[in-house]
């Protein structure tokens, strides 16, 4: 190697090393989580740990089922609340909005997505939770709560607005900007000519959206929605405030409950060895859930 080529080799090596650094980090992360969660899996057994509802500090027995269901239910609830509104926003932005307003609104939505989750958590705790307690809880327990079989799911068993529904609502507000902008990106991919040919046949705007825009953009939009909703799985600060953190049975949408992230946020720093290992195992589960959702979203978004 001659001396003239040396600087180029050095620069090449530095860039290569940085790129490899990311691989080392990701692999290191997975290995670390696996190693740290081994004691919990060994002690409780892999499936017993996943399927147990125990969370007992005195007997040191921990199971993942409640945090897992909490995370899944809070996320699904957020999706149910946010997706219709987000679809409305994206349809409005792509099909109806005057051109001049389009980019300011899109930018405003993206800026709101940049607000850190601790801020949403603070808002959820001091603004949304009291609102849920004074208006939403009485409304549901007064109407749907009287139903013969399912009524129990809408009854309030514990005072205070800290419960699964409030967590879903905060998450819904947080993912709303993401869902709206990813869905809009999906709709934006529909070629203008396609829409114009539908208009040319005499279709109304809504008929065009239903018959042309939606079928064309479907996979990209659904992929975007899944990807944006996936963010709710790992949201921590907002959920930790409002979910209520109670390892108890979930018998109502107004029950205080736990999610993976709320358990970690509230218990990690004071956890004993085996409890900490159980928390690592929950982190691993969160990682895998996130990977699954991301892969599904990517798969849908790549399809034409």
């Amino acid at each position: 190697m001659n001396l003239k080529k040396l600087p180029n080799s050095i620069f090449y090596f530095l860039t290569f090393l940085s790129a490899v650094g990311l691989v080392v980090l990701t692999v290191g992360l997975v290995v670390t989580l696996a190693v740290e969660s081994r004691p919990a899996f060994q002690r409780f057994g892999f499936f017993r740990f996943l399927l147990s509802t125990d969370w007992n500090y005195t007997d040191q027995i921990y199971g993942a089922l409640r945090p897992l269901t909490g995370t899944v239910l809070a996320t699904l609830g957020a999706a149910v609340l946010a997706v219709p509104v987000a679809l409305g926003i994206s349809v409005f932005l792509t099909e109806l909005c005057p051109h001049k307003l389009k980019s300011p609104i899109a930018v405003a939505i993206e800026l709101l997505a940049a607000i850190p989750s601790i801020i949403y958590g603070l808002w959820g705790l001091f603004v949304l939770a009291p609102f849920v307690e004074t208006y939403i809880q009485p409304f549901f327990s007064g109407t749907l709560g009287g139903l013969p079989w399912a009524g129990g799911f809408f009854q309030v068993r514990l005072a205070g607005g800290l419960n699964l529904l409030t967590a879903s609502m905060v998450l819904a507000v947080m993912i709303l900007p993401f869902v709206a902008s990813l869905a809009r990106e999906g709709f934006d991919q529909v070629p203008e000519v396609l829409k114009e040919s539908a208009y040319g046949l005499g279709a109304t705007r809504w008929e065009t959206i239903l018959a042309v825009v939606w079928p064309t953009a479907q996979k990209a939009v659904v992929g975007g929605i899944i990807m944006a909703t996936g963010r709710a799985l790992g949201e921590t600060m907002a959920v930790a405030y409002v979910i209520g953190n109670r390892h108890g049975a979930l018998d109502s949408i107004f029950s205080p409950y736990v999610t993976i992230t709320s358990v970690i946020a509230n218990e990690f720093n004071e956890a004993g060895p085996i409890q900490m290992s159980a928390l690592f195992a929950l982190t691993l589960a969160l990682f895998l859930a996130n990977l699954l959702v991301l892969s599904l979203a990517r798969y849908l978004m790549r399809q034409k």
């Binding site: 090449y12 940085s18 992360l29 219709p84 959206i209 790992g234 405030y241």
Partner: protein, 278 residues
């Protein structure tokens, strides 16, 4: 009435619903901004920035926490930005079209989507547990781990947008490849990369979860990274969970400051791209 008026009504109804959704969504999001500003302004005072924390009855502030958060973010940027930019350079230049680079790009996307609490837990077990306690280095490292894939991915896509003929022209003049990259390609992509860096800094500047298990918190003014570092976001978390009005007020005021800084960095980043385009 015309025969097809039913279709028109359906059209107006559906589009009206979409518009209502848009108004509702935007209204809700601005309501949150309004709540942050109004709650924050009521308790905002200069003592928040100049005083050390006091008991729930005293007029304390979060001076150390603001400095601590700044220091943690700065250290994270000092490590994360070069790593990200260099790695992105490999992906878009030396390693372009290689299978290995495509794998790394997928890993980047995965790392970008990771919940930040997962990264906090990971850094805890490699930098807090072995070292025997919470420390500022671990906090910075956790933030850096969040930044690297963000910066790497934007650098990669910005460099890929620079026309290939530009590199060929410079190479034909006899410049070595590394000089072509540094003097020609970086210059072309500069504003895009800078935007990416600013957005990455804005992203980590408001992070809480990765700091809770790494740098933790500290009630004192602290510049020693070997010790637990105070940070605004973790302080907000602890104060808001307290039963004291004074602390809750400070949490709102601090939240307003964090929001302003994060939004400012975001707007700055976006303006940079606009200026370049114009």
């Amino acid at each position: 009435m015309k025969p097809h008026s039913g279709r028109l009504w359906v059209n107006y109804l559906a589009l009206g619903l979409a518009t209502a959704c848009a108004l509702f969504g935007l209204g809700l999001l601005f309501l949150i901004l309004y709540d942050i500003v109004s709650h924050g302004l009521t308790s905002l005072s200069i003592s928040l920035l100049t005083q050390d924390p006091a008991g729930p009855l005293g007029r304390g502030g979060l001076k150390g926490a603001f400095l601590g958060q700044g220091l943690l973010t700065l250290m994270a940027a000092l490590v994360g930005v070069p790593l990200g930019v260099l790695g992105g350079t490999y992906l878009a230049e030396y390693g372009r079209d290689k299978k290995f680079s495509k794998v790394i790009i997928s890993l980047c996307d995965l790392a970008m989507s990771l919940p930040s609490i997962v990264i906090g837990i990971f850094v805890y077990s490699i930098l807090v547990k072995p070292l025997g306690g919470f420390n500022g280095w671990a906090g910075s490292a956790a933030l850096a781990v969040i930044m690297v894939p963000l910066v790497m991915r934007t650098t990669e896509s910005m460099l890929s947008m620079v026309p290939w003929t530009l590199r060929e022209a410079a190479l034909a003049l006899g410049s070595p490849y590394y000089q072509v990259i540094i003097k020609i390609v970086y210059r072309q992509a500069a504003s895009g990369i800078l935007t990416g860096i600013l957005l990455a800094i804005a992203r980590v500047a408001g992070e809480t979860a990765p700091l809770m298990f790494t740098s933790f918190n500290n009630n004192y003014f602290e510049l020693n990274l070997n010790r637990p570092m105070p940070s605004v976001t973790v302080s907000i978390y602890q104060y808001a969970g307290s039963p004291f009005d004074a602390w809750i007020g400070q949490a709102w005021a601090a939240a307003l400051m964090v929001t302003v800084v994060v939004l400012f960095l975001n707007i700055l980043g976006r303006l940079l791209v606009k200026v370049k385009k114009a």
